[in-house]
Amino acid sequence: MLSAIAVLGAQVLKGLEYFGELSELHLRTLVHLTRGNVEYRPTVEQMSSVGVSSLPIVAVTMLFSGMVFSYHVADQASLLGASGYVGWAVAETMARELGPALTAIVVAARAGSAMAAELGTMKVTEQIDALRTMATDPVQYLVVPRYLAGMMMVPVLALIGDVIGVTGGFVMANLTAGMTVDGYFGSIPGNLEIWTVAAGVIKAIFFGIIIATIGCHQGLYTEKASEEVGRATTRAVVYCIMLIYAANLVLTVLLFP
């Protein structure tokens, strides 16, 4: 019994230590941002890596998710005589939940893991130490660009994902329920509020910050052994997904009271 309590206590301490490290890294990143310590070139490179490179997989994910969701909604709506609201239902769900959440999960798997792997490799090969010997703070040079890229590009991807998902939904509704362009898209402008879209964007901003912070933290805190890079990469994805879901719940409650 005592050993079980000791194990539990150790895990709690480990968890607190982890969140302490994350908070410290986040705070140091914010300090650099407020001082304007932003490196232009790496930031643009990271925006390309997080945004442009993630676009194909985000597009595919959102297209098929929109199609599947539309298939179910169109079927149920026809039974209830509410076929005229299928487009709005798909758009509302995309903007509120599926767009930001699914985009974040995909970006976490693709870009969050890449951040952990890249920084972890740099740590193992002493490139992080080399930065410090050249009077460069690794947080400023490596974390700030990724933080900005995550914060800016995940919302953009989520918005693009919303549009692709709604369009995919139309294709499916047209094929299975014979819905027209007017019938599907016509229900969106009058029912979808701008706040719903904005709330989805706000969620995506937080998700982008979570991905960048966790990915960079796992990389910077990699132990100096090559197999640890793989473990850090896996942990980055797992922790990102867990925290994105938890944050999604909190943000949903706060944004849609």
Binding site: E39, T121, M122, T125, E126, Q127, D129, A130, R132, T133, M134, A135, T136, D137
Partner: protein, 310 residues
């Protein structure tokens, strides 16, 4: 375990192995040999203030004492060697000198300023007067050789791109790497990467350059070549060099003074001649490459234990 389960592998003496091996051609990638003796150095003036003063350093990592009560001084312009067996704390000591780690106790004075009391901003100010070459070069994978060398100047507003390119070309020429500006680190040999890392460390015209195992992973010719280059660079630029290595012959060949680290502390500080003449057992064995008799390593395998005798 019975004796029949133990295989014994006798390693052939090196001279026999060398006799069988065909002579290797000299590298054809522009890495020319720089004889160590060809660089003439001026005598070091030790009457003034030391550049670096290490006072009673202790370093404990996770309960293990790595360095105990280490003190020494390094004067401007010196080439100072730190030698010792693997795990003797050489690299730990080097990391302390540039502030990558803080000592558990003791002071490190760089030009009279105690760097152990500085925060990261203060250390960054001091590090502009220092450069470091890492054991495996630590070049940035995603940048070309020229971008690696120019890294420290990437945000300088007071220099034009032309001046930056000129400085990079000058440094790459100094380390005999002209023409490799656009090559990525992955396309360079180990010796070439070492040279680029030396050029990168010299970008800010440092007063002190730290070299961590500069000959590690290199063949004897390239190893001698790199240490010759370090001597040449140090002499040409007037910078002070601190070089950590267990390659004793190279250290003896280029250092003004040396330090032997063993058993967590300093065994001897002196000139290469002092090291050669020392009758301290560990220094004598280390300098003259003497083992403590036949050494056997045990290697566990799924079928038993193999004794490797060398």
């Amino acid at each position: 375990m019975s004796a029949s389960e133990r295989d014994v592998i006798k390693i052939a003496p090196e001279d026999e192995a060398d006799a069988r091996a065909a002579p290797e051609p000299l590298p054809a990638d522009g890495e020319h040999f720089i004889p160590r003796a060809s660089v003439q150095r001026q005598p070091i003036d030790r009457s003034g203030e030391p550049l670096l003063s290490i006072e009673d350093i202790h370093q404990v990592i996770e309960g293990a004492v790595i360095i105990h009560d280490v003190s020494f001084k390094i004067w401007p312009g010196e080439i100072f060697g730190i030698m010792g067996m693997s795990g003797s704390g050489k690299t730990t000591l080097l990391r302390l000198l540039i502030g990558l780690d803080k000592p558990t106790e003791g002071r490190i004075l760089f030009k009279g300023e105690d760097i152990t009391q500085l925060d990261e901003d203060g250390l960054n100010r001091v590090r502009k007067s220092m450069g470091m070459c890492f054991q495996y070069s630590a070049l940035f994978d995603s940048m070309t050789a020229a971008e690696n060398v120019a890294f420290a100047w990437r945000n300088r507003k007071d220099v034009t791109p032309e001046q930056r390119s000129e400085r990079v070309a000058q440094l790459l020429s100094m380390v005999e790497m002209s023409g490799t500006e656009d090559r990525m680190p992955a396309d360079l040999s180990g010796g070439m990467r070492k040279r680029v890392s030396i050029a990168r460390a010299l970008m800010e015209e440092p007063e002190l350059v730290l070299y961590d195992e500069p000959s590690s992973g290199l063949d004897p010719v390239m190893s001698c070549n790199i240490t010759g280059l370090i001597k040449k660079v140090s002499t040409d630029t007037g910078s002070t060099a601190v070089m950590v290595s267990h390659d004793v012959s190279n250290l003896l060949g280029i250092c003004d003074r040396m330090l032997m680290l063993h058993d967590r502390g300093v065994q001897l500080i002196g000139t290469p001649d002092d090291m050669r003449a020392s009758d301290l057992p560990i220094v004598h064995r280390f300098v003259h490459g003497l083992g403590a008799g036949e050494m056997t390593e045990h290697c566990s395998t799924p079928t038993g234990v193999i004794d490797v005798v060398g």
